[in-house]
């Protein structure tokens, strides 16, 4: 995990200097909130009016992004991040994690809220449907991913950002929280492979 750099190094990298005063990290990027509001309205209208294209759009786009981002972060960004020097890792995280704070809950909301409606409209919820068992497996996979993401990944993400905003951040703490973030991102990435198998099976029956 590239942990050979001392804690002083990361503290030094994050500490403000006279030449380059350290920027305060905006934990929730406010510029992204209008897009979130648009997504919420779009999902609500799609459900409210049983708008099939809207439901499918939100489910496919949200699910595709959720799966893609989880796989990319878990298996591409995560291992790269683990091999970076600690200051570089901190610098990357300071720019990357606030975006994840806003993107992930939005794509998860788009996927889950409309997925149930899509399943209902297509008749996959019916116990007699040949897809019913696959659907229940997908509920379980999503349940595990949601549990991991909401109880480990997201709290670690926010805690890292708050730690980085301190006048003297703890390198050891940031390293520990980021390890948690990287490992759980890998785990949810692996679970997403199961989601891909299930969803492509559902779509091809």
């Amino acid at each position: 995990m590239g942990g050979t750099v001392s804690e002083d190094t990361i503290v030094g990298a994050l500490a403000p200097s006279h030449a380059h005063p350290r920027e305060k990290i905006q934990v929730v990027p406010l510029a992204g909130l209008p897009f979130v509001a648009l997504a919420v309205i779009f999902v609500a209208l799609s459900i409210g009016f049983n708008w099939r294209w809207g439901l499918m759009f939100n489910h496919v786009v949200g699910g595709g992004l959720w799966t893609g981002i989880d796989l990319f972060v878990g298996f591409v960004i995560g291992p790269i991040l683990g091999r970076l020097s600690v200051p570089a890792r901190a610098e990357f995280a300071a720019r990357f994690m606030p975006k994840m704070v806003i993107i992930m809950p939005t794509v998860v909301m788009m996927t889950l809220a409309t997925g149930f409606q899509v399943a209902r409209q297509l008749g996959n919820l019916a116990a007699s449907s040949p897809n019913h068992a696959w659907l229940i497996v997908s509920f379980c996979v999503v349940g595990v991913m949601a549990g991991v993401a909401l109880s480990v990944l997201e709290p670690a993400n926010i805690a890292v950002l708050y730690e980085m905003n301190k006048p003297v951040p703890s390198g050891e703490r940031i390293g520990r929280l980021m390890k948690r973030f990287i490992y759980t991102a890998g785990l949810t990435g692996a679970m997403q492979i199961a989601t891909l198998v299930i969803m492509t099976r559902l779509g091809s029956r």
Binding site: V28, V40, V43, A44, I47, G48, P105, V108, M109, L112, A113, F116, Q117, R120, L125, A126, A127, I136, F139, C140, G143, A146, G147, L150, S151, V152, E154, P155, A156, I158, A159, Y162, E163, K166, S170, R173
Partner: protein
């Protein structure tokens, strides 16, 4: 520090399991016994977590409050959207009450975990 995040996370897991149980029966009415039991345990865990939290003396309450408030707003919107979907699908009666309470636990447990994890490392002053 008391295991507040563990308790709220466990409450979240229980309502997720309960939610999967209810969803797996849809559109048929689900048997409510097990889901109700899971919900009762989840609520009990949240009450214990709140009690333990309130007893902490040296704690960054300001940080906890700020993070909790914003996370609550986000997860109330998510829970509200899921509730809307259930109401729209004609979920009524005891099932709707159960779903609503589960979503309430969901909307409280996630902000509690996030805010506690953040505030436990923050400066109490």
């Amino acid at each position: 520090m008391p295991p507040v995040a563990w308790l709220s996370s466990l409450a979240l897991v229980l309502v997720i399991v309960g939610g999967i149980l209810l969803a797996s029966y849809a559109p048929r009415p689900a048997p409510l016994g097990l889901a109700t039991a899971l919900l009762v345990v989840a609520i009990a865990l949240m009450v214990v977590a709140a009690g333990l939290l309130a007893r902490i003396k040296e704690f960054a309450w300001v940080t906890f409050g700020v993070v909790f408030k914003w996370a609550l707003l986000a997860y109330v919107i998510v829970a509200g959207m899921i509730e809307f979907a259930f109401v729209h699908d004609h979920t009524r009666g005891s099932s709707l009450v159960l779903v609503t309470l589960m979503l309430t636990v969901f909307a409280l447990s996630v902000p509690t975990t996030i805010a506690f994890t953040t505030a436990r490392f923050a400066d109490p002053t």
